[in-house]
Subunit: 329 residues, 2 copies
Amino acid sequence: MTVDEKAKDAAGLDLPTYDDVARAHERIKPYIHETPVQTCTTMDQLSGAELFFKCENFQKAGAFKVRGASNAVFGLSDKQAEKGVATHSSGNHALSLSYAGGRRGIPVHVVMPHSAPQAKKDAVRGYGGEITECEPSTSSREAVFATVQERTGADFVHPYNDPRIIAGQGTCAKEMLSQIDGLDAVIAPIGGGGMVSGTCLTLAALAPHIEIYAAEPEAADDAYRSFKSGTLIQDDAPQTIADGLKVPMKEYTWHFVRNYVTDILTASEQEIVDAMRLTWQRMKIVMEPSCAVPLATILKNKDVFAGKRVGVIVTGGNVDLDKLPWMTA
Amino acid sequence: MTVDEKAKDAAGLDLPTYDDVARAHERIKPYIHETPVQTCTTMDQLSGAELFFKCENFQKAGAFKVRGASNAVFGLSDKQAEKGVATHSSGNHALSLSYAGGRRGIPVHVVMPHSAPQAKKDAVRGYGGEITECEPSTSSREAVFATVQERTGADFVHPYNDPRIIAGQGTCAKEMLSQIDGLDAVIAPIGGGGMVSGTCLTLAALAPHIEIYAAEPEAADDAYRSFKSGTLIQDDAPQTIADGLKVPMKEYTWHFVRNYVTDILTASEQEIVDAMRLTWQRMKIVMEPSCAVPLATILKNKDVFAGKRVGVIVTGGNVDLDKLPWMTA
C-alpha cells in the first residue's frame, strides 16, 4: 500500500504526501544546508554494523527542525505572513522557526519552558524570536500558548503535528538516499515523532524496503508503549536527559509511526549519556543527548543491526556547554 | 625563488620538496580521510572574513598528525620496519604514529609526559603503542627517549623536525587547494611548526600568492619571538592550555617559517578558551584548545583578515572531556 492510498484511508487527517516533501525541498533549499554524512571506524567496530551519521547538528540553527520550520514559514501567503507565526517548543523548533521567520522578516512568537537550556533561549532571541515562558509540562505550555496566539493572531506552527512540518522533515531522508548507497535501515530519535514521520513519508514512497527504527529514552517511552499496544499514549512531562524527546506523539505523527515504523527501541539514561560521550570523544562532533539515543539503542541491540548499512540521524547539536551530563554524574 | 632553489640554499638540511608532498599523498591516501571543509555564517559575521575550516579534527586518529606519521611509517623499507618506530610527543603525534604503525603491523614506542591527557594515553595504547612516561619538559622527554631508542633500535620519527613529517603535513594544504576556490590566506596553529612548514612547502609550490599565518599562544610565543628577531628561540616547557603547542621549532621547521610565513599572531589563554567554546557552541565540532588559537587571533586582528577568504586548519579534536577549560574557569 502506498502513502497516497494510506492518505485516503485516514479519515479526517489532511496527510502530506511525498509530493509535499519534494515541493518542500525546492522551497527550503536556499535556507538550509545539505548536511554531511560521517562515518567512524570505531563506531562500526563497536556496533558490528556500517553506520552513516547524517549530521543535522551541522544544520542551520543547529538542528533538523529548520527543515519543517522553513517549509511552514516560506509556504505562507504574504497576507498570512504579516501577523507572523507562533509555536510552543522544547527548544530546537523555536530556534528554527525564529531563524526561518528572521530570513523572511516576519514576527515569531515562542512559548518555551522556563527550564529550557539558557543557550537555546539566547539563540531564539538572537534570531529575533520573542519568548513567553511556561511551566515544563505539556499542559502548561498549551495553555500559555493559547493566550499568546489570541493576542497576536499569528499562524500556529506546531513543532511536529503539522503536515507542513512532517513534509519538511522528510527532506532529510530524501538527502540521505542521494548520499548513501544501499541503506538497509534508518534510525532516528522519537519525541513527538516529526522526524520519524517525515522519514516514513519519504522512505515509503522512494525506498519501502528500508527498515525504519525509532529510538526513545526508557524514561519517556510513551511512543514505545503506544507502538506495542496499538493505542496512542500521551504522557505529560516525563523526565529524561534527552530534553528534546519529552513531548508525546499526536494524531499526524501517530499515523506514520503506527503504519510505517519497523520497531521502537529504548535506552536508559546512563546508556544515552555514554553514547553521547562516546560520540564526542571518537567522532569529534557536538550532539545533544536526544541524538545519542539511536546510537545507544544500536549498541544494546547489536543483533538487530548486525551487518546492516544503517543511516543514523543526528538530530541536533544545541547543548548547554556549562551543563554536560558527564560533568555532573 | 622556488622551494627547490631554497633547498639548495640551505646548507646541511635535507629539505623536502613539493614532489615529496605529492608522493606522500599517494602513499598515505588509503590510511587517511580527505577531511571536510566547513563554513559558519556566525563565524563570518564575527570575523568580517570568509572562513573555511579544514576539519582535521575529523581525521583518522583525531588529528592532522596522522598525515606525516603515515608517510614516515609506510615509507620505511621492510627491513627498517622490523624494529618499529619510536617518538616523543605531546600526544597527537604519538597517537597518529601508533595508528599508522598498527595499520602496517610494526612496533611503536612512545615517550610521553605523565601529564598528558588520559584520553590520549588510552588512545595510544588502544592503537597498540607502548608508552614510556617522562616529565613534562622538552629536556626530560629527549633524555628518556634516548634510552628507549637505544634499547629497541626503532627508527626515530620526530613529531615535526623530520622531512618525511613535513612532507606528509603538506598534503593538508594540497587538499584545501582542491576543495576551496580563491583562497587569500591560510592560518594554522604553530607549536613545533610541522603543519605550518608543510603548508609553506605546498603553497610556495602551488599558490605562492596565498598568505600564510601562524597562530601561537602568548604564553608559549617562542615562534613569534623567533620570527620577529630572525633568530631561532627554543623555550623549554612553557605553560599554556594549548598543550599541543608547547614544543619549540627546530632547524627544519624554522627554515620554512623564516622563509615563507607572512606573519605570526598570538592570543591570550582566555581568548583561546573563548574561541574554543564559541566553535563548540556554534559549529558543533569538538576541537582541542590548540586548534582554537587561529580563530582567536583572527577575531583580535580583524583588519588583517577583513574581506579575505581564509583557510583555517582545525588541527585536532583530542580533548579530555572531563577537563574542559570553561568548566574549571
